[in-house]
């Protein structure tokens, strides 16, 4: 029925099967829609956020998907600026994943702020000293860049491409994509960094505070580094999931292996800096605040396990796995290592957001706990539903994987 819209020479499932596939994701979106309506209509009292947990699960999701979506800018940088030709087979997928992550995060932030209609005040009354201002400017601009990078992929749809002007426009955009990739890299560097900076500059919260390098706290650089270490792994995971569901090979191994190897080295580099940073923090910032390292890890569930899990189990282990060719060339080894890498980065964001707020600074302030409401989960899960839906629709109708036809000659439809 819709086969005229499929990319040239590839096979897709029937519309009925596709509709069934989209139903769970549409259900998640409906759940999120209801939650968003309640939060916008009745206010943020629909959540379990509080004056203690001013940031909560939505900010964790935001920072997590923005870090995981870093595959878009980093793969774009490697493809168009550095000139790694093999990555052209995965760059479209990376761009779409990035677009999903960033647009989802921006939509989520629109609900998270108490006065969404005043969101533009950040740009109008901008406080240039605030890391959140830098985040807002760079994320908004980068979302625009991602949209520009996404447009040529849409214009490559078999029917749209028949319109001469649109085809020409798409081809011209392709030619100048290096400029947007470089712009995206610049913007991403600053917003990934400023997201980390947001926590490092909170000098009155010793758990988050980090020493400054020039005008930025070390978390600025650590967040950039960790995002480019985890982003490509998330792109690999999404690609492998698409391959598993569609039962096709979509990306040549050389592209995946290059990204996996690079991730391994970047993660190792990041971990070296993270360990140095943690050691410096534990021996300067923490004692200067009159505290010992273990003072931070004795409240509720936020024990020292967080540090061990983040740096050791979900840091060093996947870094080593990704650096060993035999492990990353093993399909299961690659998936496990990528999953662990992404988990470690999400845990890092969780610790900086939730644990920072949960640990009281005043000696006589009590510890509070937090669990999200169904409305909070609804909006967070809507991001997952939106991601699956947009990626599925893109895969069905757009040439997301340019090598698909070549890699699956027997399945050409």
């Amino acid at each position: 029925m819709d086969s005229a819209l499929f990319p040239e020479g590839v096979k897709r499932c029937s519309p009925k099967v596709f509709l069934l596939w989209t139903l769970p994701w549409l259900a998640l979106l409906a759940w999120g829609g209801l939650s968003a309506f309640l939060c916008l209509w009745k206010g943020l009292n629909q959540t379990n956020m509080s004056n203690i947990f001013a940031f909560a699960i939505w900010i964790v999701f935001d920072l997590a998907v923005i870090a995981l979506g870093a595959g878009a800018f980093f793969t774009g940088f490697l493809t168009y600026v550095i000139g790694r030709k093999e990555l052209k087979s995965i760059i479209n997928a990376a761009v779409i994943i990035g677009f999903i992550c960033y647009s989802g995060a921006v939509a989520m932030l629109g609900i998270d702020i108490g006065q969404p209609i005043r969101g533009w005040f950040i740009f109008w009354h901008a406080n240039v000293h605030s890391m959140l201002t830098e985040v807002s400017f760079c994320i908004s601009a980068y979302l625009g860049v991602l949209a520009i990078e996404y447009i040529p992929i849409i214009l490559e749809n078999r029917q749209i491409e028949k319109v001469p002007h649109l085809r020409l426009f798409g081809h011209n955009l392709h030619h100048i994509m290096g400029v947007f990739a470089a712009t995206g890299t610049f913007l991403s560097f600053f917003h990934q960094g400023s997201l980390g900076g947001m926590f490092g500059v909170m000098y009155a919260r010793p758990f988050a505070e980090r020493w400054d390098f020039y005008v930025w706290p070390t978390t600025f650089f650590l967040f950039v580094f960790s995002a480019i270490a985890a982003g490509p792994c998330f792109t690999i995971l999404c690609t492998k999931l698409t391959e598993a569901i569609s039962r096709k090979k979509l990306v040549p191994d050389n592209a995946v292996q290059f990204l996996a190897r690079l991730s391994g080295w970047l993660l190792s580099g990041y971990l070296v800096l993270k360990i140095i940073d943690t050691a410096v923090w534990a021996n300067t910032t923490v004692p200067n605040a009159g505290l010992g390292l273990m003072d931070f890890y004795r409240e509720g569930p936020y024990g020292i396990w967080m540090l061990i899990a983040e740096i050791g189990i979900f840091g060093i282990v996947p870094a080593v796995m990704l650096m060993i060719p035999q492990v990353r060339q093993n399909p299961a080894g690659l998936i496990v290592a990528c999953l662990m890498n992404c988990t470690g980065i999400v845990l890092n964001r969780f610790v900086f957001i939730i644990a920072t707020l949960a640990i009281p600074v005043m000696p006589f302030a009590r510890f509070w706990s937090y669990l999200p409401t169904w409305q909070e989960w609804g909006i967070a899960m809507a991001l997952v539903g939106y991601g699956f839906l947009l990626f599925s629709v893109s895969y069905r109708y757009l040439p997301v994987f340019p090598k698909e036809q070549e890699l699956n000659p027997a399945m050409n439809g």
């Binding site: 004056n51 108490g114 005040f121 950040i122 605030s130 959140l132 000098y203």
Partner: protein
């Protein structure tokens, strides 16, 4: 971003030896500043109390148990005010001329970054629309705007009282305020006279003299926020409660 010293620097000294924890300061503050109530005031993570009382004990069993209270307004931090520097739409500012950290409710977007940055838990978000039980709306002060849902609010050192005092002085052809002419609502009502308010830059003011008392201290002094709220206590264990110390580091006065 070290604050440029202005002519005035309003601050407060709270004598914890005098404080009985009666809560009058909290009630007066709420009435003076049109603080809204929420339907379930037992939800202590989301209630609004610009002047909050923290009860502390020395941890010893009866009969050696001692109790003290920390009334905690906004500290109006003077150095690199944690909330001011992070607020993206510049909705909170410190007036360098008087040291008061103010909140612009109509500019606040409700991102709550300021709450995350404040170590004193002195900032409150309006999780609900303002609620004033029937009849209480008639007691609202016309000098203080009520806040809308979705914005952050905090103690303003009763800034409207400063405006009022300045207008009075102007009407009387004076350019300077007398010590004690501008005081906050909590200062005025405290039955034990535990709170003293005034200009810390005026060496002759009562508050400036008390802030130099040997037993005066501030909350979390070592992180460097330079609060303009001082406390006095003759009890070592109370002074030790005000900050984090390594073993054997605390020096009794």
């Amino acid at each position: 971003m070290k604050a440029t010293e202005g002519k005035y620097k309003y601050g407060m000294v709270i004598n914890l030896d005098k404080c009985t924890g009666c809560g009058t300061c909290t009630v007066a503050c709420a009435a003076e500043n049109n603080l809204s109530v929420i339907r379930d005031e037992t939800d202590k993570q989301r209630t609004i109390s610009w002047m909050q009382l923290f009860k502390v004990t020395n941890g010893k069993p009866f009969p050696d148990t001692e109790v003290s209270y920390f009334p905690r307004p906004c500290m109006h931090c003077h150095n690199h005010t944690p909330c001011v520097s992070v607020c993206p739409p510049t909705a909170t500012k410190m007036d360098y001329n008087n040291g008061i950290v103010s909140q612009i409710y109509t500019r606040c977007i409700g991102c709550r970054y300021c709450q995350a940055a404040c170590p004193y838990q002195a900032r409150y978000f309006n999780w609900w629309d303002g609620h004033f039980p029937k009849g209480t709306e008639r007691y609202l002060s016309p000098e203080v705007s009520v806040r809308m849902r979705g914005v952050v609010e905090k103690c303003s050192f009763c800034h409207h009282r400063l405006m009022r005092a300045k207008e009075q002085a102007y009407a009387e052809d004076r350019r300077e305020l007398e010590d004690g002419e501008y005081i906050t609502a909590c200062t005025e009502v405290c039955p034990a006279e535990a709170i003293t308010f005034g200009d810390l830059n005026d060496p002759d003011s009562k508050v400036a003299k008390l802030s130099k008392h040997p037993q005066a201290f501030r909350l979390l002094e070592r992180i460097g926020t330079e609060p303009k709220v001082y406390y006095i206590s003759s009890k070592d264990w109370v002074r030790r409660m005000a900050d984090n110390y390594h073993p054997n580091e605390f020096q009794p006065v």
